[in-house]
Amino acid sequence: MDQFTSHKALVAPLDRANVDTDQIIPKQFLKSIKRSGFGPNLFDEWRYLDEGQPGQDCSGRPLNEAFILNAARYQGAQILLARQNFGCGSSREHAPWALLDFGFRCVIASSYADIFYNNCFKNGIVPVILEDKIVNQLFEETFANEGYQLHVDLESQTVVTPKGESFGFEIDAFRKHCLLNGLDEISLTLADAELIRAYETKRKQTSPWLFDVIK
């Protein structure tokens, strides 16, 4: 996983609530057996005017000019500003894979669906939670100022505006540690292998049927 320490980047505003993962990456692209290559199909049904097919070259497809990510001023954005309950619905990790592949390293919203939120951390994406009032302010500033950038600093857990206004955000200490250092969670868990074995031994005594073999 890529580490995330501090990121200053262009912000793209996606001004709608309850964006579900079917919208972030539609189902036909889930047929891929890879982790990469989903970027061209991020928000496919909103981004293009035709129906996208997996494996297709997207460069010649007709763009929906009204969709915000197609606007010239937001090209190259690495921070996605979104609304409440972002990432609801399906558990597909293809959603953060598509965001990452497109270039987003950070999402800012007032709330997220639980599974999506969790999936972000596995992929070096920081899902920042800020109050509605602050998110509203950031939307206004992004719309009003072309080239608007935010500075997301994980170490200090702050989002800093171009004017220097700083907003703090919460994040689990363990997740922060993994992101800052780009750590592989599986290795960390395997360091506790003895604890896992001890748990299994104890559990086998009290509830042996839980270890009956599926065959």
């Binding site: 057996i33 990790e93 596995k122 689990d172 200490a173 395997l190 599926i214």
Partner: protein, 476 residues
């Protein structure tokens, strides 16, 4: 000891290591695998040179991509080459690692959330995960069961554990006798209408009350299945005789003395008197009517006899904007009633409503009637090969086909359009599935979530009708 909720009890039983930041390493008893969210996990495992921690805790089946016709042809019969590769990849991974898989052509194959309980691979007190958000279904058996992403699928394969933060507890209590024609699906849709699509975010929801107690396991699975549509990763129901009777003699369940030992532990799997819930919602069954979703989020739901809500009357600006977008997507005119919506297709199936009880309810309505000529397609897709077998034994397939419904083979089918079954652009569908998101059932498709009986009645009349009137009229 402090009174604990059902969720607290199962959580406490699975802590391998508590961390200072409030997260914990949690042991996972069962992982269910399917073809869409597992290939990258197996690949990751191999690239890191790791092997599965406990092979026998896993059970796999292909479901999302499988065609619902001509399954006898096996994997080779999947026309779409990309879908075929995905199913072949699952087969190859399970063969290579030695994971039990119900492959296409196996009568036990089906939707992963139907086969787990059916086989007794879902047992009370377990922690169960799957790379699919509708894993919440298994909570009907007093388990902590939730969807995970592919990185976590790999994590569980490699370590049999997950790093989790404990959720908060919510209790949704439904009391009283269900009115005639009102089903588990209507209960959960009404609950989502009440709490909203994010109302359960951060919570595990325990469903309680006399109405839930009176539901069959199939009904409880329908309710827990859609906990995620209310934002909650987990739904749970405590153990009672209904749970235990369902599990008796299931292939992977315990037998003889172990069964007795298990049952005595399972009996404890309910919330203690006085256990603390962070949030409580109470509904009366008598107030619930057959429900129909009108918009593009499961919270956009009303009773069948209602008009489609007018966004202008919504005071919450965020909700209003969502409603306006839904109006545009669904192409509604102001003032339409639910019964005015013209339907093109009807889908009875999915992990929400494809079990034997669901098919019986739909067949009861379909019996002796004909699908309306305005309906392009009405299909019934059983949740597993065993459900299909049982339905055929009861003659339900004959009832459906005589009425003009297509009788298909098991799979996720039109719930998510990853296979050949999908909606065309602009088509309206009465669907027993779980999500009415834009494009979910096919690009430009317009989904209305309903119960199996309501879907069957809609197929026959060509538009939504109150199944309560329909049944009483036709049975006279």
């Amino acid at each position: 000891m402090k009174p604990r909720t059902l969720y607290d009890k199962i959580w406490d039983d699975h802590i391998v290591k508590q961390r200072e930041d409030g997260t914990a390493l949690i042991y996972i008893d069962r992982q269910l695998l399917h073809e869409v969210t597992s290939p990258q996990a197996f690949e990751g495992l191999e690239l890191a040179g790791r092997t599965p921690w406990r092979l026998d805790a896993n059970l796999a089946t292909p479901d999302h991509n499988v065609p619902t016709e001509n399954q006898d042809a096996g994997v080779a019969g999947i026309v779409d080459p990309i879908s075929r590769i995905q199913v072949e990849t699952l087969d190859a991974n399970c063969d290579k690692f030695g994971i039990v898989e119900f492959k296409m052509g196996d009568v036990r194959q089906g939707i992963v959330h139907v086969i787990g309980p059916e086989q007794g691979a879902t047992l009370p007190g377990m922690t169960i995960v799957c790379g699919d958000s509708h894993t919440a279904t298994h909570g009907a058996f007093a388990t902590i069961a939730h969807g995970i992403g592919t990185s976590e699928v790999e994590h569980v394969l490699a370590t049999q554990c997950l790093i989790q933060r404990k959720m908060k507890n919510m209790r949704v209590e439904v009391n009283g006798d269900l009115p005639f024609g009102v089903t588990a699906k209507d209960i959960i849709l009404a609950i989502i209408g009440e709490i909203g699509t994010a109302g359960g975010t951060g919570y595990a929801i325990e469903f309680t009350g006399t109405t839930i107690e009176a539901l069959s396991m199939e009904g409880r699975m329908t309710v827990c299945n859609m906990a995620i549509e209310g934002g909650a990763r987990c739904g749970l129901v405590g153990v009672d005789d209904t749970t235990i009777n369902y599990l008796k003699d299931r292939p992977y369940g315990p037998t003889s003395e172990r069964w007795d030992q298990a049952v005595s532990q399972w009996r404890e799997l309910k919330s203690d008197e006085g256990a603390f819930f962070d949030h409580i919602v109470i509904l009366n069954a008598a107030d619930i009517k057959p429900q129909v979703t009108w918009g593009t989020s499961p919270e956009m739901v009303v009773a069948v006899d209602a008009k489609i809500p007018n966004p202008a009357e919504e005071t919450d600006p965020v909700k209003r904007e969502g409603m306006e977008r839904a109006y545009e997507y669904m192409d509604y005119e102001q003032g339409l009633a639910i019964s005015d919506i013209k339907l093109d297709r009807v889908f009875i199936g999915s992990c929400t409503n494809s079990r034997i009880e669901d098919l019986r309810a739909a067949a009861e309505v379909a019996k002796g009637n004909q699908v309306a000529s305005s309906i392009k397609q009405a299909m019934v897709v059983p949740g597993s090969g065993l459900v299909k077998q049982q339905a055929e034994k009861e003659g339900l397939d004959q009832i459906f086909t005589a009425a003009g419904f297509q009788w298909r083979e098991p799979g996720c089918s039109m719930c998510l359009a990853m296979n050949a079954d999908k909606l065309g652009n602009g088509e309206h569908c009465a669907s027993t599935s779980n999500r009415n998101f834009e494009g979910r059932q096919g690009q430009g498709g317009r989904t209305h979530l309903v119960s199996p009986a309501m879907a069957a009645a809609a197929a026959i009349v060509g538009h939504f009708v109150d199944v309560r009137d329909f049944v009483s009229k036709t049975s006279v």
